[in-house]
Amino acid sequence: MDVTSKTSEVPEEPAAAAGTERVWKAGRLEPMPIRPLPPAPPSLHILGPTVFLVALGVGMGESYMWPRLVLVFGPDIRWLFLVGVTLQAFVLLEMARYAMATGESIFFGAARIFKPMMWFFYVAAILIYMWPGHLSAGASAFEEVSGIPWQATACVALVFVGVLFSLLSVIYNFLEKLLGFLIGLLVVGTSVIAAIVGQWGDLADTIQGMFAFGYFPDKALSSAWFPIVVGSIAFAGPSGMQQMWYTLQLRDSGAGMGAHIPKIRGLRSSGEAEAMPSRGFMFDTEDPEEMKKWKGWRKWVTFDALLLFWGITMLVTISFTVLALSAARENPNVAGLIEGGDREAALKAMSDAFASAGSPFLGSLFFGFIALIGLNATLGLFDSFSRGQADMTYYFIPGAKRFSMSRIYFGFLWGVIVFGILILLFGPADGPAGILDVLAFLSTFAMGAYCIVLLLVNNKLLPKPIRPGPLRNVIIGFGAVFYLGMLFYSLIRFGVVLD
């Protein structure tokens, strides 16, 4: 038996006679037929598709990149994290608006506005996400525990992820459960450990630092650190295109009009996949009953965004920052080590904080958590990447509809796995931290671009009653200026794109 929160029922549709069907015209592509909106889930349950965003969001940014900045610049630098995550929560809500109203991904929305914009994301996703950064960082943490070289672990994990996904029947259901369990374990574990190891003063500093708006030390403006700071802000919460992929997970979870779209199946049972409709659907926004259901869905997704995404991301990162501050006490020269070029020093120092009671095992436990985060992020990322590319390929590459969406999904999944193995064995990557910094910086451009897409899609393609209000538009507009502004400032001032 499967019990989840993301459930609702679809009333049986009245059979529309061919030719008389009501449609909503959105952009230049095929109009969306009007279909009933399913009722929203009845209560505020904790399980939902945001589990993916949490799995992706509580990643290396929270456990590694931000603690590293805290060790170097002090806890006051964390106000930038607060701005980053809060902005991401608004982005999530606006991404959900389009996806739940239409059952289409945000990529489809971008194509309805201007197809080259969608192709930009298609190419950017490949450039950014073919690098196995998250996995290699998790694997290098595992090396600290086991002594097994990180390349070997990363390769085995890559194959494991591919085989696992290929054997599943319905990928979404399994992943939601697995990630849910792993994140539960992570959250319980970090809370307990931070409660044992941390001190009131660390927590007070951490929280105070979140509100030290405007603090920006001169050193952070240097060519060595500014690109890292920019990348870290992008890595506050789900970075790069992860928010865009969330629209596909929302669809697969059956949220809003996503209920009318079939799910992606595993390779083993991809033959059973139902045919994908050639576009999404719209509901009747003139009908007060439908609008009532829409408000229910907005409430549901807002709860998901605020509690699960914003709340968990914030709590886990607070726990990790408390540990970083404990590390600084145990190991006062850690900032010097990091500045001296030892970029893995942040992880080692935090491991020392765990070990402060006197045993190396506790440090190993910490690396175990990092490895777990790496695995979580990898499972979520590979699924999301393949989902996003399959969506765009299926709908927009001529002839691709000959294959099912599931087969295209697996084409991308195994493609990224094989590339990952090759890069790990023979690639130019200079180690996990190097790959992560590249990812973080490239991600920022995609984030600025998706803020612009969101503004266009939600304001031009949706019926007036469900468009975003002026305040939300201003916030998303600020997001575009924030991400792109930092990126170009970095380029012009330091001439640095990649660290």
Binding site: M1, D2, V3, T4, S5, K6, T7, S8, E9, V10, P11, E12, E13, A15, A18, P38, P39, S43, L44, H45, I46, L47, G180, F181, I183, G184, L185, L186, V187, V188, G189, T190, S191, V192, A194, A195, I196, G198, Q199, W200, L203, I207, G254, A259, H260, E274, A275, P277, L307, L308, G311, I312, L315, I318, S319, A357, S359, F361, L362, L365
Partner: protein, 182 residues
């Protein structure tokens, strides 16, 4: 139903909550055990956390089983653990002190100690609720034949599951209709 049967069923129902408490206790025991403490001390510090967390977890789960708290909803769990988690950590600190020095004692600045843990309790509440549901949704349907509390809780989820099924079927019917039109 006799009181004895009720208690037996309630204990059976609250097993998933115990699993979460035991996991947290194990983490604490490992922390203590490998921190150079003798095995006995480590066991005491582990139990010092596991026992209160299990007891409090069972308490929360019993509220759900008895219909006093809705299943899987965050706010009641957060309120419960905002008090429960600091208390559990206080018991842990006292027993650890006891194991190490031979006499139980309060931590320095007990109010700050409790406030710090109360803030972290939000994280624990989310993790607890999350794991409680993950384990529970496999356990409760298994025992619901003979356990009224499990039956009651599963019923809360069943209408969700049924409506999900109805939605799937409706969507499938719609697709067939569309195909038929083509």
């Amino acid at each position: 139903m006799t009181t004895e049967t009720k208690i037996h069923q309630l204990v059976e129902f609250t097993l998933p909550a115990s699993v979460v408490g035991i996991s947290a206790g194990l983490i604490a025991a490992l922390l203590g055990g490998f921190a150079g403490q003798p095995l006995g001390w480590a066991a005491i510090t582990g139990l010092g956390l596991a026992v209160p967390l299990v007891v409090l977890g069972i308490g929360y789960s019993a509220l759900v089983g008895l219909g006093k708290a809705p299943a899987g909803v965050f706010a009641p769990a957060a309120a419960y653990w905002a008090i429960g988690f600091p208390l559990a950590m206080l018991v842990h600190a006292i027993t650890t002190e006891w194991a190490v020095t031979g006499t139980p004692g309060l931590p320095d600045q007990p109010l700050q100690f409790l406030a710090f843990r109360a803030l972290l309790s939000m994280g624990f509440a989310i993790g607890f609720l999350w794991m409680h549901e993950q384990v529970g949704r496999h356990w409760w349907p298994r025992i619901m034949e003979h356990n009224v509390y499990a039956q009651h809780t599963v019923e809360q989820y069943v209408h969700l599951a049924e409506s999900m099924e109805a939605r799937k079927q409706a969507a499938a019917r719609n697709r067939k209709k569309r195909k038929a039109h083509v």
